[in-house]
Symmetry: D2
Subunit: 342 residues, 4 copies
């Protein structure tokens, strides 16, 4: 039975406590938060869980085997490093850290100590994303043309990060899981409409070795909620609409057929194919439950979780490069993600 300590009981922390309480193989030992009234809520619901306003109490508690960090991004590195140095396995909310340097150091520390370090890219554990990855990786879509994602709504302005670090991080982690290829360069343009605040609207484009292109539209100021991804391949295409109550993933047997023109000329003839649409049944287990199992299982077996620190580092690198690009009005920034191990 792995003892879990949860740092931060704000928006997401309660979900972590609930899932690690219910999961086979783990129990929640302690929760820390700076706000007393939040800790009172913990005690009301979970009388046996220790509460403290001091994260270090929790980290140092010998009954805590693993620490789950659900605090603002700027604190991820410091808390994560203290936990690793205390010999604890670490689960960190997305993004892994505020800089790639911090992410790399966390990763190195965990590796040196043989501890599990996992970033909570929750969407990767949904039935929808796992089905999409399966379809892409078994070649059902054929060679990929594009990956286009929109994630907008009237969302909470974050204080410490901009809309890319808040929302695009989800889509970059999904893309990292679904695609085998890694982006080679990134460009981002955005806008901050509130004086003194970070960008609340951004367009991020990733280029790859071939003609594949990925694009992400994130916006905290949209009148309607949209969470839709189009993935185009030369055999089939996917529409992933996360707001659909049931058929979130639709596979279209549509596309083009390209033939050389008469006399083998340079110009290619393009004709259209349309066929059936198919919405596969999806696994409906709550994503966070699957993620928690992956974390616990990795600790138990000494394995590596799906959303491990290499994944977390790659995503932070892309966000970091996108921030640099946005500061230079969309200038293309090269990426070298190959160095990051699996």
């Amino acid at each position: 039975m792995i003892g879990i300590g949860v740092i931060g009981y704000g928006y997401w922390g309660p979900n972590l406590v609930r899932n690690f309480s219910d999961a086979t193989g783990s129990r929640v030992v302690a929760v820390s938060d700076l706000a007393r009234e939040r800790l009172d809520r913990v005690s009301g619901r979970y009388p046996d869980v220790l509460t403290t306003t001091e994260a270090s109490d929790l980290i140092d508690n010998p009954a805590v085997d693993a620490v789950a960090i659900a605090t603002p991004v700027s604190t991820h590195f410091d808390l994560g490093m203290r936990a690793l140095e205390a010999g604890k396995h670490v689960w960190v909310e997305k993004p892994l850290a505020a800089t790639s340097d911090e992410a790399q150091r966390l990763r190195d520390e965990a590796a040196a100590r043989g501890l599990v370090l996992m970033v909570d890219h929750t969407f990767v554990y949904t039935g929808a994303v796992r089905k999409i990855a399966d379809l892409v990786q078994t070649g059902q879509l054929g060679a990929l043309y594009y990956y286009d994602s929109v994630r907008v709504n009237l969302g909470l302005f974050q204080y410490d990060v901009d809309v890319m670090w808040d929302l695009a991080v989800h889509d970059l982690s999904i893309m990292d899981y679904v695609l085998d290829a890694r982006p080679r360069a990134v460009s981002a343009i955005g806008s901050a409409h509130v004086p003194g605040r970070t960008a609340n609207l951004a367009y991020l484009t990733c280029l790859f070795d071939d003609s594949l292109i990925a694009h992400f539209h994130v916006n905290w100021l949209a009148p309607v909620k949209v969470r839709r991804t189009l993935i185009g391949g030369d055999r089939q295409m996917i529409v992933y609409d996360d707001l659909e109550p049931s058929e979130k993933v639709r596979v279209y047997d549509k596309g083009i057929t390209v033939d050389p023109g008469p006399e083998g000329r340079y110009e290619m003839l393009v004709s259209y194919r349309t066929g059936d649409m198919w919405a596969p049944q999806l696994e409906t287990t709550e994503a966070l439950t699957v993620a928690a199992r992956d974390f616990i299982g990795s600790i138990e077996t000494g394995g590596t979780p799906v959303t491990n620190s290499a994944v977390g580092l790659r995503v932070v690198r892309i966000l970091e490069a996108a921030t640099r690009s946005m500061n230079n009005r969309g200038e293309l920034v090269d990426l070298d993600l190959a160095k990051v191990g699996a």
Copy 2:
């Protein structure tokens, strides 16, 4: 009664012939096309209309007062110039010409001769776009944050132009009509997935003097058809969905309120407003009918149509700059549209 000659009877020409035949104040005198079987179709439906495979026959016909050009973009300049030189008013399908230099020369020639030169930006004449322009220009949306457009489907690959010149031209002309501000710089990234063919997928971003940002996603290879524009202002926001059968324009009384934090600190506090949604009834006259009336009326009164050559020139300049940007992997290209007169 203004005599109209239509050059080109392919996809769009039949609509021109039908509208100029039905419109009060005009009649169709002649149609030219390179393909005999298309002209036979004209004769079958309109026995009194002259047909010819020679555009010059039509241009030189003294019964033709105005020439409507519905041919590939590369021929717009040559045919338009010949018609103007023959003293004919000219209607050209979008885009006005293949280069801004050509567009400028057509514009100068028409001005010098006192002839009407109009580009067929049909969407500008829809009830939806006219209502949106009214809402924006009477200040109902407040200061604008963004203009975000998506126009994708499994569309015909064009031979002579890329997807921006084929699809984004619609949205740029709508934006030009709706907004008072003109973009100062443009960036575009795209991809050509068929060897030897132009880009079939592109993302185009326009920057303005202030924090307003405009973005256009166009794609010939999408599995679903989307034609949706979001326009965000600090008072209200619009969703314009051209595929909705009735409520194409929805106005949301939603947004944020920004207040200085306590002690007048730098950081601004953001709170949310949500209110009613409202879908105004729209004028349903066919857009092309309204456009034809504008053309005929401008000829009759010596006036200037809404989608005049200055508009056409601005749109071509943006497309030209976008093409340059795309060739340089998204490098921002400055625009100076102020020079173009009204």
Copy 3:
């Protein structure tokens, strides 16, 4: 080449003229209508077609082999009978006639003379309905539970028929084509909201030998347009949404599994199955084109069209019984459709 005469050039007549003009094997010889200005429109578009305000001129014209009747329902019998007596094949708009007696007499006359008598149940010739019939009849849905149809919008109030004879006739003809079983009894309740006018809103229920139930909601006074049919079977279920631009037919691998409870008790245990959804590609040929071919082909080969007079008679019988039921506030009225031959 079969010569067609079309009686009535109002809402639907122009579609008939266009389709019989374009179809291989037929040409339109003459059109009659009471209104001169409508006939002028015919002459404008089809200079070679004879026009007349006298239906009898058309019926008696020896160049007319078949008569298509697109006039108000009350005239179907008289015009149809005159055409049959003149030895002409007959195509009648839906419904076949105003009473089952009239329908039967038309059917008998056609049979006695060996002439083709077809009712234009256009929806039966759509790709969507043909695919649904195929799925139902090959057993993919299993045993049928229900057939539920909604066809409402802000539609034209008809002068001579109520909303059942105007709209439910479509759905009854679709059901007749899709199902093997025939209803045994019908109940209808409706309401007339305009003084002196027929019912503009109706609910019609058909009962069958087994537990299958069919229900039809038709309404001329709905604020939104809905054309949706649910068909539930014990293996799969269909949603047919005629307003969907592409995936009109969706097949759901959903349902229940029924098992005897423990100890073989009377009470059955019900558990749920959910699986994939699938939207088959549909044939997109215009339905009226396929119908016209069926009519022409039946004349050429001496065959029987799919929407023959037996079908038309069955549908009129159901409507007639429904009217009787509605006049008795929903009293169940028995049907005996078995007598009607194939």
Copy 4:
């Protein structure tokens, strides 16, 4: 502080415990359920709440001022009567009782003792339904034409009640709240597709004194979830779609205008009006929270809750009559709801 005892901790009980725990003015004293493991769940979450497998322990507990009954319908009468006889206020899940006789006796007992008796028609307390009632009752829709409701999905088969008593009860309670008029007669047709089980599909029609008609379609075996009500008036019309995430209520300024024909003839001329659509912002407080406040407030002030026993009795009478109608294959059954007091 009113002490609440909750009987039944199955599907809905946990919501009652949570709401009465959080509400100002009430606290949950005790919970009873026949299943021990459910009571353990109560104790885990609410350590201070007494648990018991004996409902009578709870009813007799002097700290319990009011009893909330969330058990199968067949037990409502017996438990409710015992609670009233013990001098407790009573909250009962819908429907109030299994027969109108039981409902009447509960109502009489509560009145005799001056106790509050409330039925939990939760939907009546939603922002959507309250807004609709406001629009209808202030005359914005004008005279009503129809009320049409669809509530279908792949839902749980209930053991003790059929689909009308399970689902239509919601819509009948909404209608009762929204309309001033009361139905005069009811007809219902349905089907039971599982041997030995109640009807899982039903169509219920209510007739009124005038031409208003109300219709309810309920189904446990539909492949898609639909919860949509159309309300047509002679001035405006409403579409209430409970599955819409935000704009659940849409008001259409659409309809017909009826004028006498020329020469004051019998036949009325019908013309169409179309105007704006408007989706008012809705109150978003959880309906059950508002309902709990109504119950508590009524106890505190000696008032009458909105969903009081007269409402509950009327709904049970309609369901009872509908059941009789269904057993007679849709025979119209008269209702006399006027006797039921406010």
